[in-house]
Symmetry: C2
Subunit: 510 residues, 2 copies
Amino acid sequence: MTERLQELRTRLHEVYDLQMAGAVLRWDQATYMPPGGAAARGRQLALLGTLAHARLTDPAVGRLLDALTPWAETQPYESDDASLVRVARREFEQSNRVPAALVAEMNEHAATSYQAWTEARPANDFARMRPLLERTLDQSRRLADCFPGYACVADPLIDFADYGMKTADIRTLFASLRERLVPLVQAITERPPADDRCLYRHAPQAAQLAFGLELSQSLGYDLERGRQDMTHHPFMTKFSLGDVRITTRVNESDLTDCLFGTLHEAGHAMYEQGIRMDLEGTPLAGGTSSGVHESQSRLWENLVGRSMPFWRHAYPRLLKAFPGTFDDVSVDSFYRAINKVARSLVRTEADEVTYNLHVMIRFDLEVDLLEGRLAVKDLPEAWHARYQSDLGLQAPDDRNGVLQDVHWYAGSIGGQFQGYTLGNILSALFYTAAVKARTGIPDEIAAGHFASLHGWLRDNVYQHGTKFTTAELVERATGGPLSIEPYLAYLWNKYAPLYDLEGAASLSRA
Amino acid sequence: MTERLQELRTRLHEVYDLQMAGAVLRWDQATYMPPGGAAARGRQLALLGTLAHARLTDPAVGRLLDALTPWAETQPYESDDASLVRVARREFEQSNRVPAALVAEMNEHAATSYQAWTEARPANDFARMRPLLERTLDQSRRLADCFPGYACVADPLIDFADYGMKTADIRTLFASLRERLVPLVQAITERPPADDRCLYRHAPQAAQLAFGLELSQSLGYDLERGRQDMTHHPFMTKFSLGDVRITTRVNESDLTDCLFGTLHEAGHAMYEQGIRMDLEGTPLAGGTSSGVHESQSRLWENLVGRSMPFWRHAYPRLLKAFPGTFDDVSVDSFYRAINKVARSLVRTEADEVTYNLHVMIRFDLEVDLLEGRLAVKDLPEAWHARYQSDLGLQAPDDRNGVLQDVHWYAGSIGGQFQGYTLGNILSALFYTAAVKARTGIPDEIAAGHFASLHGWLRDNVYQHGTKFTTAELVERATGGPLSIEPYLAYLWNKYAPLYDLEGAASLSRA
């Protein structure tokens, strides 16, 4: 068994290294590659992807897994070896069910579609995207059909991102969250709006970059094993557990873009940096699901980074980083500004409270498209209708409507959005459990110390990599099942005083 | 045949793309990778190297080449197809003669040795490098022994870098060059030394980077298909014909490091950017030899970049780029400063005239080591003895002696240095031929126009990639064989007036 396990590890290490090499090429494409490099880069990435896929789906891997599984099942569930065999088996089976030709077809189409979207979005040209999106939808259904026996065609697609979750579970979860969020949004938006004009004062690029990175480092993002670069869309990427990078962007007339974007990506990066180093090179060396990953970006960005304790410590640093710019703004005004709640058209600019409504619209539309209740040609209208009914807003165009998110135009339809709201729910679950276990955390945050919180998250979430499913991880870390209550309590406790909602206290309990 | 040729192309394209992916990873390692990324990066690079090697040496490639060669030999020698088969066959045979185990052993040892050198050089610790260098020497001999039938053990190693050249040819060439250089150096160094103090005035990093890049662009380096980053040691690298990058470094107290380093690397890059785009993805898409590659870096750096016509145009731009810094320095003084000739200890800092003496020392020592006339333990003494006899200087330590160049400590011994002097010789050969064909070139340079020169080089050198050997390329481009006369004439015509050597005119002809 030791020998077989070693052979499995060696084979999987090659897959991992090829994937990581691909990540370097993708990062370079987004950061520094000159325009002339694009054509070859697509080819190079396709080749690395094909080689990784061929190695992962090699029948020899299947034989090793068949031989190892009975033995692994006698080992403790959470042991490295049992977990490796279990997770590798899942990835092997997922990859083996999808024909290489479909993978290649989807990758090629995704590149074409993405390229078209980069032009069609600014041109507000949904008509151009329509046939491409129809093809994406067709491919997505064919991808789902590689996994027969699903209850909903979206289930296999959700499984890729949030293993173990089903469309029906998410629908139920989202419905109960929605029922409580809608009146909260309603109550807040009936109050006088927060004044956030101070956030749009001129702030020089270099100072923004340095300040965001300085804060991220103080949270625990390790630059010996990471770095920051600029891209059009911020992201986190990993080339090994020793090299986990973030990117950010800067708007000199909007401090929040770089600041919270950086904290967000640093949260993702701290998750990856916290994985146990001896899981390196295996399928265990990653985040366990898109929901758990997003929970960490949102936890550091919002529960920490938009909290009053955090700014008690960080605000003087901000005043120093932007000399003279915010001298007339009190920390209280700044705190109100960065937590302004307002109905808006664009998901990525939405506040914490309304954000989930944006996600739910997309989730429902994805499922409707996949299940054939909605045709691509009718998508822009369906989008507008939902924004009207859910947020009371009418987008003036498709650019800020159905064309706003890259997801459907650069991959598949299905499984793309639920992770964002799962992440919000989980961020509060984990944070609440951390504070329960280490009650000094809020005071430490106010003093600029993050080691207790970071340590709890590393011990209970990060170190395990992909060993546990989302549900298992939640159970182990919080002692209970997935629940929306801590998230709703967090929102209530934060926004009730901010918007003077005491009279609407009934909203805090369903 | 068409079908076989297509299959060959497809297979070689994979090799090429894997090599290019490796180049991206190497570039990132040198530019932006945080320290924590090093261990995994070594593994990723080894894997990509192994995969490329396996694909290139695949017996199926050999069968295709066997089937295609008789047909290719009926095609015009310079046709794309015949050249592809010819060059691919050479690379296939070279790669197939070397056991994969030796390649892996050498790569691994090179990484270890390089790592040790980065510490041993500043510590002046040759003793630490000695056993590593002994192993490198042993490996280099074993590598040479994969190609039995050589006249000199260095021949196969030289072949890798400068295909078609033999140790004996280079010895003869270098001896005749040396015979003429030594009295020239002697005559120059008997004259009063040039005053180059103006070069060491403070020049800010950002201005140096921008100015170097601006000049490179005006020469013809295309930033739509390239870019510049900073590294400890400058280099040029290629990820595709559409993405050819350079790196540079900056010393704020020495303008020349960044300025001429950038022009040098831009010269390499213009060669690669000038290769015909339809050779992309084949073994033809590269520089034909280390000598020809170096000829282009040296041509743009020295024959253009250190010439008076060039600075007639560029000097006002320099004054503008560094406001106030050089206002009291005339273009004539600046020209004298950047062309100061002096015996020195460090090759990379040597002037055009003495540079080749440094190269010849290393070339002779390499061959002596390989042929067993010199033991590694005696290398530091042999080094000092040669610097004493050839340059009249005594290095105070090994740091500026035998430890100064990375080459032997990060690869093999043999074939590492001759390209530098071949490059100098060839730079004048090509430049002279270009000016003969397009007599307006010097005037155009003085007006800041480089299109004629660049065009001639593209037509006669760059576009062909690796189609022709060095000797073939020289014959085609200049109408004659490799000769040192144009180079010596160039040196004489430039340095005689600079150092008032008219009285020593006999030096201009042997």
